[in-house]
Amino acid sequence: MRSKFVLLMVLLLLVSCFASPLRLSSEVGIHTDAWKTRMPGFTAEKGVEVSIQQFPYANYLDQLMLGYTAGRVDIDVPYISMLWYPALATAGYISPISDIPGYDRLNESDIPGIRNTKLNGKTYIIPYMNELGGIIYRKDLFEDPKEKANFLAKYGYELRPPQTLEQYEDVAEFFNRPPDLYGVTLMGRRSIFLATHFMQRLWANGGALLDLNMRPIFNSEAGVQALKEVERMFQFANPAARNYDFQEALNEFISGRSAMAEIWTTGMFYVEDASRSSIVGKGGFVGFPRPEEKLGEKLPMLYISWGFSVSSAAPDKQAALEWLIYVTDTKNQVEAAPTGNIPARFSSLNSAELALSFPWIKDFALAMENCIPTPIVPLIPEGGSIVSGIIAPAVSEFLSGSKTAEKALNDAVKEVDRLMRDGGYY
């Protein structure tokens, strides 16, 4: 009797070991909803159970960091923002995916921006959702013959989605007819969203945050110019936009109250959502403009990506790799996309099936091919602190009139310099 009981217990233990599911984690969001639709198919095809824990975006990173630090994270495959992986990788909380046997099957050359996923030559995250910061615009207004004629008469060239920063200001000014219509929607609340407006212009004007020795250099002429351009654009935005975050900006645009929104590609899903948008079918996307003299050049453009990483403590890394291969496969990406995802593979973006669901996807793919996809924060552990904690307040201080552009940037450079010294960079 006793030996039967022991045998039963051993059997149960073995079964529980083999049957332990692959544990995924994510934020609550539409691209997560998209890949969640693939979970049953993966289990059916590979025989591996998959479970998921979801957290609100606002405290997802905190949960991961605190959990990993305390050594009590029970997650095998965290789905994370690309901005977070350097900190998690440097700390050893996630391990290189490229070290798992069979990694080549992922075909990383099909993924734009893949260079951003590597640390010391090893890949730590496989992008699933890729998007660019750019401009979402009202196609109906841009194609209106009367508007086109008026614009031509006023500015001497044809109305079209802006390609240059000069055109961008002209178009914003042209459509700025408050209080019914504003030229552009911006995100002025002191947050990383506000920092995106500065960063896009800094890059477009040839500036950078850090030099090759990791010293801050954004208090350059390009930085000052970028700040002043941000300020000028706010003239053509709703005054309330000075306290907008992403969602509020999007709400203004999809309610038809502005001609353009300086936002990122995900916004198109909200434009096409008939339950809340009053401009369904009227939205278009174009990559962020650049100075006229840099037309045709490949310039850095705000790149936002979420993808899958693998915890160092994951017991079955092979199962994790199988999930990554399955979920990022072109067919699965295309099928999941209508739920709310912009696929990360060129092969998915160029699929005819996807173009049927997203008529704007070819413009996005074009922008992606013609830019250097660049994450908003430098891919070092301190990156988030630099942009959210230092750059965003500096931009906000300038816009609120508390500091001049030069003073705001010089003070911010000093702070970044201290942070980098503390981090042992020099």
Partner: protein
């Protein structure tokens, strides 16, 4: 027997002692220790190193910290003073029983029952430049100049607005405490003063206010301590902006802890807040309490 008697008192206070040690002393000690460390969660490769007094040195030499202390004082003094003045007026008005006073009391308590996060969202809606009732009202009465720049995006207006929102939420608490104090004042001193010919202002100044001191002390100390920790409405309404105009100590501590993950420096900021809270409490007990015990 003697030994048992000697320890019986200790046994009675033991649960409270354990509670205080677990809930208060352990986290406090932990924070004190961390404030002397150089510990960044983003860089475990650098390890946890002794920092000596460097976190405190940075705290007291950094002009930003001093500005943040100034903003925090502005918020605390503004909100506590406003809540005390408005709360006292309402408490005096409610101190007479009239038909439906219980209903009025219940309605007055509503803001206090709402979570601060919700209060933040409600006030953002109220102050919205497009459809907020406050802006609409200001425009109607000809003060549209005030609305050219949204109040929450105006560095000189954002903090007063936060104070107003905080006062809206917590004045009912002050009313509740002061009303209880007013109810406990005996009628005899008023009767004697009335016989001596004292007017209503004299009765208020020489009887009500002195006898209400201990209740005011309770309300002011509690509200000061909670105002020093204000975070929710700042986070929701302004995110510390525009610029740094609404960044308080608690928000600064949060930013350093959860955006920079600098646990050592963040702990030093928290210890500073703790020290300021103690100083405020002692000051209040001296000034309002007057060193006297009215119980």
């Amino acid at each position: 027997m003697d030994l048992r008697r000697r320890f019986s008192g200790f046994t009675y206070v033991l649960p409270a002692l354990v509670f205080i040690v677990v809930i208060f002393m352990i986290p406090l000690t932990y924070t004190v220790v961390m404030s002397f460390l150089r510990w960044n969660l983003l860089r475990p490769d650098l390890g946890i190193r002794a920092a000596g007094f460097s976190n405190y040195e940075r705290l007291f030499t950094d002009s930003f910290t001093l500005e943040t202390i100034g903003r925090t004082f502005y918020f605390v003094v503004g909100s506590v003073l406003l809540e005390l003045l408005v709360g006292l007026s309402i408490a005096l008005a409610l101190d007479t029983e009239f038909k439906g006073w219980k209903i009025v009391q219940s309605i007055l308590l509503v803001p206090f029952m709402i979570a601060p996060v919700v209060v933040g969202f409600v006030w953002r809606f109220i102050l919205n430049n497009d459809y907020g009732p406050v802006i609409h009202f200001l425009k109607q009465i000809g003060l549209s100049g005030l609305t050219d720049k949204p109040l929450l995006s105006n560095p000189s207006m954002a903090m007063p607005v936060l104070i107003l929102a905080d006062a809206w939420e917590f004045t009912p608490f002050v009313v509740l405490v002061l009303l209880a104090g007013l109810k406990s004042i005996p009628y005899e001193p008023y009767e004697a003063a009335f016989v001596d010919g004292a007017g209503s202002i004299q009765r208020f100044l020489y009887i009500t206010l002195p006898l209400l001191r201990s209740s005011m002390l309770v309300a002011v100390v509690i509200r000061t301590l909670t105002s020093l920790r204000v975070f929710d409405i700042v986070f929701i309404m302004t995110g510390g902006g525009p610029g740094t105009s609404t960044e308080t100590l608690a928000f600064y501590g949060y930013r350093i802890a959860f955006q920079s993950y600098n646990i050592g420096f963040s702990s030093a900021i928290n210890m500073l807040t703790f020290g300021i809270a103690i100083i405020f409490t002692i000051l209040y007990m001296r000034v309002i309490g007057g060193g006297k015990n009215y119980d």
